[in-house]
């Protein structure tokens, strides 16, 4: 049969689309979810209890240092969640991955909530330490901008009658907003900020005692797994809700 020759899909696109089938996604995610959610719960509760009751108080900050066991994981997820949102947006715009749009929609509110938690716990630490709930410091301001980017994405994807147009507009906003991530990361190096420099770096030794570092790392891991579990569960619900809408629409058209 003389048809148009289609160029084979690039290997990346092929491997990505293998997991794009909603039925396959529901099957695989249903099996994986308990193995993510249960360790997330145990690590988060264990890490927070460790930080709250076992880890030592700071010689300058006193017990207020215990707020970092929430603030730092929330900050990590605020940035990490936005990066995940941007990756999903890229997958959606470039490869039209069918689950990427839904994933971006489901990541948005969770990422926004963790960014708000980061800002709120920062304020709760700042009041007793700095004497102010808020200062227009480069780190704080850039994280506030991140929070508004999340809110903008949430609003934009819901602003169109045609959901696909909303997904495209949201994806473009998410990709443009990625420029804010290095600004957040390096704000404490580029400008004189009241916010302290990074405690944990990839190249250097951590600038905190090991008795505080371990519970912090456990909390970061627990929060990250919890974020992944929540987003996966929300995505499972979104896939099923899309199937329900499709079935109801087909029923109406057939009637």
């Amino acid at each position: 049969m003389g048809g148009v020759d289609h160029a084979p899909s690039p290997p990346v696109a092929r491997s990505l689309h293998r997991f794009a089938n909603p039925g396959r996604f529901l099957r695989i995610s249903g099996r994986v979810l308990p193995f993510v959610a249960i360790p997330a719960l145990l690590l988060t509760l264990g890490g927070l209890a460790w930080g709250l009751f076992v880890a030592p108080a700071d010689y300058q900050q006193g017990d207020a240092v215990r707020i970092i066991y929430i603030h730092v994981p929330a900050a990590w997820l605020a940035g990490g969640g936005y990066l995940a949102l941007a990756v999903c947006s890229l997958l959606s715009l470039v490869w039209r991955h069918p689950l990427a749009d839904l994933a971006a929609v489901e990541i948005g509110p969770v990422g926004a909530a963790f960014t708000a938690l980061c800002l709120a716990t920062g304020s709760l630490w700042g009041k007793p330490m700095w004497g102010a709930w808020w200062v227009w410091d480069a780190r704080l301001t850039s994280v506030l901008v991140l929070f508004f980017l999340y809110l903008g994405h949430i609003a934009l994807v819901r602003a169109f009658d045609d959901p696909v147009r909303g997904y495209r507009a949201g994806a473009i906003l998410a990709l443009v907003g990625v420029v804010n991530l290095p600004v957040i990361k390096f704000s404490v190096d580029w400008w004189n900020t009241l916010h302290q420099p990074s405690t944990l770096t990839v190249t250097g030794a951590p600038s905190m005692h090991v008795d505080m570092l371990w519970p912090l790392l456990v909390c970061i891991l627990g929060f990250s797994l919890g974020f992944a579990a929540i987003v996966t569960a929300r995505l499972r619900a979104a896939v099923m809700e899309r199937r329900i809408r499709g079935l109801l629409l087909a029923g109406v058209q057939a009637a």
Binding site: D63, A116, L117, G226, A233
Partner: protein, 50 residues
């Protein structure tokens, strides 16, 4: 413990955010699963086959 109200507020907020999203996600999944069980012909066929 020093600064107790600030610490309690921070941990309380974390609990509300984490538990709130977890419970909401679980309820959404269960609601969608029940709805799909009721109207999806593929699932009805699977049920009939078993």
């Amino acid at each position: 413990m020093t600064h107790l109200p600030y610490i309690a507020a921070a941990y309380g907020l974390a609990l509300v955010v984490g538990a709130g999203f977890a419970v909401d996600a679980w309820l959404r999944v269960e609601r969608a699963r029940r709805r799909l069980e009721a109207i999806d012909p593929r699932r009805q066929r699977e049920r009939d086959a078993t």
